[in-house]
């Protein structure tokens, strides 16, 4: 009726619309969001700044020297010095560390996650390993110096190396990454659901058959990711290598055999960067160029780890 247009117009839908439309502006949420974005930008900004500085100063050297920089040995003059020996040394170190710490670390993880029965024992070992992973790398360097360089120097690095051999460095690094390899591998193994183990036990498999045919293959992507990342960690470590005597300065030796290489002197990328950074200003370009190489290698290693994780990831 025309006399009551208002009450007629106010349908149920209008009431609902009024209650859900046109809410207050939520200032508090907006403020929090802005703060969080600000913090993120600040953090990323610092990192980006660092990268820019590195690239601006390093790229000219790399562009000018090109392959020569990547292959030249250490030298006293900046325009002759390159990272050839450093790259070779780092790769040798990584290979040795992988060869030693992967089987040991993964084996220990399998024992802890699949075989060890007494809970107090696994708990104890887990605690110890976790704490070892947190020990500063310098401490491992001191340990390596005392054991591999001084005590075992005559065996590991005889002659002119006087103990400061690739073997001593590799062993030190292997011990350094071992706790990380154990922890990440054990976590990957524990992520395999118990129902899979039960299924395999249920058809009459032995523990070893369960581990070999099921648990290890299913945990492999996680184990690879963890171990590769631990390699990246070892690749960037500087302090322990300086302690156990990676060459800083320069050396000129041609090694004839693998054993000679292992027992001889060596240098690595991060120690080279450290060494050049202490030198007079004219080495600055070299430092940045070497950092670019170091970052490049780390990026490749991390990308590989990420690729492996996505390529073989399993969903349960």
């Amino acid at each position: 009726m025309a006399s009551t247009p208002r009450t007629q117009a106010l349908t149920a839908a209008d009431v609902v619309r009024r209650s859900i439309e046109g809410g207050r502006v939520d200032w508090r949420s907006a403020a929090v969001e802005a703060l969080l974005v600000g913090l993120l930008v600040l953090t990323l900004g610092v990192l980006a700044w660092l990268l820019v500085v590195v690239f601006v100063n390093g790229i000219p050297v790399l562009a000018e020297r090109g392959l020569d920089f990547l292959t030249s040995p250490l030298a006293a003059r900046p325009d002759e010095a390159g990272v050839g020996q450093a790259i070779t040394g780092s790769l040798w170190l990584m290979g040795f560390v992988a060869l030693l710490s992967f089987p040991l670390g993964i084996g220990e993880a399998v024992y802890l996650a699949e075989y060890a029965r007494a809970p107090w024992f696994t708990r104890l070992v887990n605690t110890v390993v976790r704490n070892l992973a947190g020990v500063p790398s310098l401490v491992y360097g001191l340990l390596g110096l005392a054991i591999f360089v001084v005590a075992l120097g005559d065996v590991l690095g005889p002659g002119s190396a006087s103990g400061r051999s690739l073997l001593a460095g590799g062993l030190t690094m292997a011990i350094l990454v071992l706790p990380i390899v154990i922890i990440t591998s054990a976590e990957a193994l524990r992520a395999v659901p118990g129902s899979i183990r039960e299924a395999a036990f249920g058809v009459g498999a032995t523990r070893w058959e369960v581990v070999r045919s099921h648990v290890l293959p299913y945990a492999a992507p996680g184990i690879f990711t963890g171990t590769i990342l631990s390699m990246a960690r070892a690749f960037g470590e500087t302090a322990p290598l300086i302690l156990v005597g990676a060459v800083i300065g320069g050396f000129n030796v041609k090694y004839e055999s693998v054993l000679e290489t292992l027992q001889g002197r060596y240098t690595a990328l991060p120690t080279t960067v450290y060494d050049w950074a202490r030198k007079p200003q004219d080495f600055a370009g070299n430092v940045y160029a070497a950092i670019i190489v170091l970052i490049g290698v780390l990026l490749v290693v991390n990308a590989l780890a990420i690729y492996l994780r996505y390529r073989f990831e399993r969903r349960w």
């Binding site: 029965r117 129902s195 899979i196 039960e198 036990f201 249920g202 058809v203 009459g204 099921h214 349960w316």
Partner: protein, 307 residues
Amino acid sequence: MKVETEVKPTTDAVPDSPETPTIRIVATHAEIDESERIAPAATRAAEAFAVAEGEAVFELDDLSCFYGSFRAVRNISMSIPRNQITAIIGPSGCGKSTLLRSFNRMNDLVDGASITGAIRYHGVDLYGAGVDPVEVRRRIGMVFQKPNPFPKSIYDNVAFGPRVAGYRENMDELVERSLRRAALWDDVKDKLRSPGTALSGGQQQRLCIARAIAVEPDVILMDEPCSALDPIATLKIEELMRELRESYTIVIVTHNMQQAARASDVTAFLTMGDDRAGHLVEMAPTDQLFTKPANRTTEDYITGRFG
């Protein structure tokens, strides 16, 4: 081989020791008179169901199961008949699964799990010295609550058991036979190389059954095999169980009373006391337990008054 049975008064239904050649009897519900029905109850009614010697696959003698110091199952004595489907029903947490997992020593894998009493499997003490749990599990297979196919191909899921058992003959043929028996062959014959985890829930569970029967076990234990399945998949599994009964002894734990009533030959009802330890209340042929329960607690449970 037929075993001679003789009827003797059922005052002592505790399983006889192997040395005494006395034969135990199958007491039916009709033989329990009214005084026995009221009488000290639970254990009494449980003992009333006995299986002729030689026909029992499992004989439990005062079995208790523990996790550490916690007793999950208390003093169970019962016999599981051969080539029948025995359902174990009871409220949540009454130890049904624990009991089932003690039948193939699956609980050995749980830290701190132990038993007292005895389980005899065809007369042999399952927990005796020298018994290899791996061999036990080859003969007593298991299907789990949640379908748990290996993240491998359908073919490898089935072939894994025979492989570790050292099966050297025609594996393709064995895989096909197992999948056919599990009523899955027609669904998967064109995609044996695709992952078992890509199947539907019901198909996955039938794959798990195929995996279990591929090692030609004697017994199949099923731990709530349909709890994660829809009604149609459930019916398929139940049909399958009826067929498998011809060749295997099946023990199934189920939450679902209708399932026990539909699919099983014998039903054991467990419940728990104040100590949270499960005990056997009554065991009887299924139709009898569901129509004329001998025990009040059973009746309350199957009519939905608790549980």
